[in-house]
Amino acid sequence: MFWASYLLAAMAVILAWPVPVLLARAKWTARAPVTALVLWQAIALAGGLSMIGAMLTWGLEPLGENLLAGLQGLAGLLVSYAPAPGLDLIHVFALSAALLLGVHLVFTLLLTYYRIRKQRNKHRDLLNLLSSPVKNSPKTLVISHPAPVAYCLPGGAGSVTVLSEGLLELLRPEELEAVLNHERAHLNQRHDLLLWAFAAWRSALPWLPTSQLAQQAVNELIEMLADDGALRTANRETLIRAVAVVASGERPSGVGAPAKELLTPEESEALSTAHRLHRLLSPSPPLGKPAQAMVLGCSALLLAVPTVLLLAPGLAG
């Protein structure tokens, strides 16, 4: 079972560094944002799974051939207090580290959820006092502020899109409609869930290149998806102009984005807007079906390999 833990460790390293660096540089992602989002999620999940799995299988090695047998052995050990031959301090250390990392990831996920919720509720409270509804446009609020701002505040049935007076002044009606449809696409496609998961991943392992790059890429990809949503009703020029005007004041994730980033938030935002504008100004055809299928296949494989490595060893031999 040692080989399985080494393979898992190798996979964790690959997924933590070279793969996300390459994917972050790839140009095809703008042509297939949904597929790219699936791949980023697979990388994050498989990365976490292999990190924990490598330590777990290594630590359980003396107790069983694969994960299930090992866990059974461990449970038996804990119940009977019998001495375990071959289970050294270093194995116990690996097991503790695996447990710690697992708990840390889950705990950070919950903590991030709680933090985002709290911040949103506070924001919503204040918003209710400061904004006024828009006639003929449900779930849309206007706030009196000169900067051109548009953002959405997710919250199930209470989701709202907020526009600033500055934006209403700068945009023509059809551009405003495009901005509204962009924000509604964020809300309808539940992009807040993706942002939450990747923000948690980021704050759990801030030093890991994959978590930083993944968060930036996901932020950008959901903006592109929302642009595509707006393009269903708006024409391209209208959206381009709206994006350029709103870009002066929008942070893509709205409420709940964590502070530290590789680039400063402003730089990252300006870069992401540049990519979006480039995509709108010089549109390329969507990535071909076979290529997309290949990427989706890779994503499935990414999840399958660590799972097999965890469970298969004893079964195969």
């Binding site: 911040q119 924001h123 409270d125 204040l126 918003l127 209710n128 006092l129 400061l130 706030i143 009196s144 502020h145 900067a147 051109p148 701002v149 953002y151 907020v162 600033s164 020029e237 381009i240 102009r241 350029a244 005007v245 870009a247 002066s248 004041g249 929008e250 942070r251 709205g254 409420v255 984005a257 938030p265 402003e266 935002e269 300006a270 870069l271 807007t273 540049a274 504008l277 480039h278 100004l281 010089s282």
Partner: protein
């Protein structure tokens, strides 16, 4: 009867309005607020009187949220807005914008990072 949320809004509107109109009179007792609210809403269809206890509930909620300050030195206590409506708006927008640089700087930055032809199209669109 209005919901608590609507009442909170009405109370804050009164306090913020007072703050900007007459710097001498910016703090009110719950009774005074009730009277003003009743005057504003006397056309309400159900015609029910607004109770002072309701106003006090609303005020204590607003106090907990850090929007209202209570002056305790004389009884009955008087309530005032902590800061102006504008300051709250700026605070709220800062949360969304972060420390966003000004519009020109961002535009310059992404015009610099797209191709010459794209930049030209963008300029045309923005000045159209």
């Amino acid at each position: 009867m209005a919901t608590l949320g609507e009442l909170e809004r009405a109370v804050m509107d009164l306090l913020w309005q007072a703050d900007s109109e007459d710097p001498a009179e910016i703090a009110f007792t719950a009774n005074a607020l009730r009277d003003r609210l009743a005057r504003k809403t006397d056309s309400s269809p159900d015609g029910k009187e607004l109770a002072v206890t309701t106003v006090l509930t609303v005020l204590s909620r607003l106090e907990k949220k850090g929007l209202v300050q209570r002056e305790r030195d004389i009884r009955p206590h008087r309530y005032r807005a902590v800061t102006s409506r504008e300051e709250h708006t700026v605070e709220l927008m800062n949360e969304v914008l972060g420390s966003a640089p000004d519009r020109e700087a961002v535009l310059a930055k992404f015009i610099g990072s797209v191709s010459e032809q794209e930049a030209e199209t963008l300029r045309k669109l923005l000045t159209a």
